[in-house]
Amino acid sequence: MRYLLPLFAFLVLAVFLFVGLSLNPRQVPSPLIDKPAPEFELYSLHEPDRIFSSKENIGKVWLLNVWASWCVACRDEHPLLVQLANSGVVPIYGLNYKDENTTAKQWLKHYGDPYIASVVDPDGAVGIDYGVYGVPETYVIDKQGIIRHKQIGPVTVDSLQNKIIPLIVELQKQT
């Protein structure tokens, strides 16, 4: 008993610390999950005359990917987004966050353009409405216009296969 008690205390501490190791402090749970996606009306990067409204997407499941040409991690996830767009599973919309239009266009030309439309948020105002605090971030928005998932940081093969795509398939079944 005399030796078991410290051992027990140590084990409890060890379990807590071990769990703490596997947590990512950057993954701040978004309060926007299961809440209506903030509405926005922004012009599109390739067609500056066309104002895109987030309401247009009511009735379909879509992805909103926050990206910028200055964002290095965006390059990591970009090939995956292009693949996903080509597969036609889900329409992807881009939110070009605090970027220069010319460099953004060049960037898309160079790395490929997976977006149905990429809207321009030069001062990050819409980004703040969505609780963006790092780029890239990706939101899964359902047919009712409700945010169902927020991917903080680049999309990975693992997160696509195990979380995002199954979720999209499930959401598409709903009416």
Binding site: V28, P31, L32, G124, G131, Y133
Partner: protein
């Protein structure tokens, strides 16, 4: 820089033998040179004024800035999580500070501004989290831990007191201890022992005499010590 090289030969061999040593003459020259530069600098600055504008102050209104700062001191920067938004110079914090300034200008109350941020970034943005089901452990965890450990400490100390037994020393042990300690108590214990063992054979006066003797010897000792 050119002029420095002109002065170096004056330092003669020393400069060449040891690249880092500058002779006394040269150091005086360098001192004058740097004084000259220092005196010239203000002149240069006055030229510059025509070319550059003065930096625009961050806050046009110190009142707004003060309110913004008190607000942001209790808000966490989500990018550099150990800094408050007031301290942080991350882009994120710059944006939030800008938005708060705008909202203050739009006559929003502090609560409205905080709510605006919590709606977007969650309670995590607050350094002072509200009491909720999810934060109960955060609020009361330390208290629970304190109570538990106090209970444990009291229990432990009580248990230890029970373990320590009252020890009664025999006369021989007392004498030995006194001998080891080697002080006045030794004498007294000796007397005490003598009294016990010899009381039957000797009369009362002799023990009294011994007492006096012992007193004298102690006072003698004391005298020696002083």
């Amino acid at each position: 820089m050119k002029s420095l090289f002109v002065f170096f030969p004056l330092g003669l061999g020393r400069v060449f033998t040891d690249g880092f040593t500058i002779s006394r003459l040269n150091s005086v020259l360098i001192l004058f040179l740097s004084l000259g530069i220092a005196l010239l600098l203000p002149l240069k600055a006055s030229w510059a004024e025509t070319e550059y504008k003065e930096a625009v102050p961050v806050a046009e209104n110190p009142e707004i800035e003060q309110r913004m700062l008190t607000l942001t001191e209790d808000l966490r920067c989500l990018v550099c999580q150990n800094e408050s938004i007031a301290e942080s110079r991350a882009d994120f914090s710059n944006d939030i500070r800008r938005i708060i300034r705008e909202q203050i200008k739009a006559n929003k109350t502090d609560e409205e501004i905080i709510d605006f941020l919590v709606d977007r970034y969650g309670d995590f943005v607050l350094y002072n989290p509200p009491m909720k089901n999810t934060t109960v452990l955060l609020w009361f965890g330390p208290l629970i831990f304190f109570l538990f450990s106090s209970w444990f400490l009291v229990k432990y100390l009580k248990g230890r007191r029970r373990e320590i037994k009252e020890v009664t020393l025999s006369d021989v042990e007392l004498k030995r201890a006194a001998h080891l300690l080697d002080d006045d108590s030794y004498k007294r214990t000796e007397d005490h022992l003598n009294k016990n063992t010899k009381l039957d054979n000797q009369d009362h006066s002799s023990t009294l005499e011994q007492h006096q003797k012992a007193d004298v010897s102690t006072s003698e000792n004391k005298g020696n010590n002083v």
